[in-house]
């Protein structure tokens, strides 16, 4: 048991390290991925803030949606990992890793950590953009630490989810379709760009069951409102769903290889 845990930790780190090295060899991807959130903030956010139709609990609309856009950006980066698993299966890389004495969970956690790091890079780029747009955010040591934790957890959850989807659909073509179908509804059925209170009641149920809402809630408390009373609850929810999905994912993804 102790040996297994040691193996898990070491090999999780090896997997994560290799993913990080890939990013360092070719960081252009980080820049191109930042374009979409910049469009959401710079165009959608700017336009909607002129209308003032959405109640934003006493903050500007741009302040309100910045945590939502950050969350969306983290989610979209993470959802890509399921596709990566299918790609690695097509290459033979996945099979090769599966026949080494490596705990199945190590690959999942390794991918989750690397998705978290990609997510953090998005956070940095979005933060720089908020300076240009003069969106005021609360930047303290506490809020930075909180953002790091929520980003890592949220990125991990959606990485696990996408690996499960990949192990069900099994081909790149189908995954692309499903990925599109899942990411946008997750985004719209959350409090990312409008508060849950203005949704019809059935959608409120969906939004409250959506882990994305807890990410947004936590990030918004840290970066915008400063009311952190619900933050522990948000984090506990994210920890539970992330661990649960990592075990489910470790059970399911080896099926992609056969």
């Amino acid at each position: 048991m102790l040996n297994y845990i040691l193996q898990l930790i070491i090999k999780t780190w090896v997997m994560a390290e290799m993913e990080i090295r890939k990013l360092l060899h070719d960081p252009t991807e980080l820049i191109t991925r930042a374009i979409q959130p910049i469009l959401w903030l710079g165009i959608f956010g700017e336009a909607m803030s002129k209308i003032r139709a959405i109640p934003t609990q006493g903050v500007t609309y741009l302040q309100f949606i910045t945590p939502g856009i950050l969350t969306q950006s983290i989610t979209f980066v993470s959802i890509f990992y399921g596709l990566a698993i299918i790609w690695e299966r097509d290459m033979g890389l996945l099979q090769k890793i599966l026949v080494t004495p490596t705990p199945r969970l190590a690959l999942v956690w390794g991918k989750m950590i690397s998705a978290g790091i990609r997510g953090l890079s998005q956070a940095v780029i979005i933060f720089l953009f908020t300076l240009i747009l003069q969106i005021h955010l609360r930047i303290t040591l506490f809020s930075i630490l909180g953002v790091v934790i929520i980003t890592m957890l949220g990125a991990s959850f959606f990485t696990g989810l996408s690996m499960i989807i990949a192990s069900i659909v099994k081909t790149r073509e189908r995954f692309m379709g499903i990925g599109q179908i899942i990411t946008l509804p997750l985004f719209f059925a959350s409090n990312a760009i409008y508060p849950i209170s203005i949704m019809p009641s059935w959608l409120q149920v969906v939004a409250n069951a959506n882990p994305l809402s807890y990410m947004v809630d936590g990030l918004r408390a840290l970066l915008v409102t400063g009311d952190v009373s619900r933050l522990p609850f948000d984090i506990v929810i994210l920890v539970i769903v992330t661990f649960a999905i990592s075990f489910l994912s470790a059970y399911m993804y080896p099926k992609v290889a056969v």
Binding site: Q7, I10, K11, V14, M18, R21, K22, H25, D26, D90, M91, G92, L93, Q95, K96, I97, L98, V99, T100, P101, T102, P254, A257, V258
Partner: protein, 269 residues
């Protein structure tokens, strides 16, 4: 480690996919340190059999032991003593040669103190020292295959499985790969188990051959034994192959197999 003359022992191994019998009650043995070719038309059950040996797929019934460990009861032990080189390109193109080796050294639990030394030795052995810091996607097909073999050998496995190791390589690269494989066998006594469609290659390199057909082992033995069984003068291994696996299946394999093979050709080409 159980030292046994038989490194692979297959006993009544079967695999069903729903109603389809992919592997039908096969039994055979592979001796330690031999180079063993696994032949058969597409869809004969070769890949399914290999996947059971390397613990990716659980058998429906029967068992196989690899170096004394059952693939059903001790898959974790089996994984420690084998190396596997898939048919497709299984190195990470976005990492350097050295990083690819480092990844596998970690995953195979090569002891910390020996890690760098073994990687250096492997780079020297494969003549890839100059390319240690190059991204793998900049290498040629032959170098990529060599690197893949090197990755699977870092932990000095008892047994190396190679799925179509020279598909898509030019004759010089092909010869080079085989020189390295023969040297590995001679140095470490590694058993080499490979599947191929290339009869000349099998004839030139292997000690023994098994031809699989329609989920069964049609014949097993040395190349000359197989040729004799065709009752034909000056028979080649190809004649033996056609004799034992000739007119059974739709030739050419299914869409998926063909797609994979051609993609591999394209990438290595």
């Amino acid at each position: 480690m159980i030292m046994n003359e038989k490194i692979i022992e297959v006993k009544n191994l079967s695999k069903h996919f729903g109603q389809v019998l992919a592997v039908k009650d096969i039994s055979f043995e592979v001796k330690r340190s031999e180079i063993f070719a696994f032949l058969g038309p597409n869809g004969a059950g070769k890949t399914t059999t290999i996947k059971m040996f390397i613990t990716l797929l659980a058998p429906t019934s029967g068992d196989a032991t690899i170096s004394g460990y059952s693939v059903i009861h001790h898959p974790a032990e089996v994984r420690k003593v084998i190396g596997y080189v898939p048919q497709m390109i299984s190195v990470d193109g976005a990492l350097t040669v050295q990083e690819n080796l480092m990844l596998m050294a970690h995953l195979y639990d090569v002891p910390y103190r020996e890690r760098n030394e073994r990687i250096q030795q492997m780079l020297a052995f494969l003549n890839l020292e100059k390319y240690a810091q190059s991204l793998v996607r900049t290498l040629s097909g032959g170098m990529i295959r060599k690197l893949e073999v090197g990755q699977a050998m870092l932990h000095h496995p008892h047994l190396l499985f190679l799925d179509e190791p020279t598909t898509g390589l030019d004759p010089i690269a092909k010869r080079n790969i085989w020189e390295h494989l023969a040297e590995l066998r001679d140095t470490f006594g590694t058993t080499i188990f490979f599947s191929t469609h290339n009869m000349e290659e099998a004839e030139e390199t292997c000690d023994r051959v098994a031809i699989m057909n329609d989920g069964e082992i049609a014949v097993i033995g040395s190349v000359s034994e197989l040729k004799d069984k065709t009752n034909k003068k000056d028979a080649t291994l190809e004649d033996a192959f056609i004799f034992f696996a000739g007119n059974s299946l739709e030739p050419g394999g299914n869409f998926h197999d063909i797609k994979q093979t051609r993609q591999t050709h394209h990438r290595l080409g």
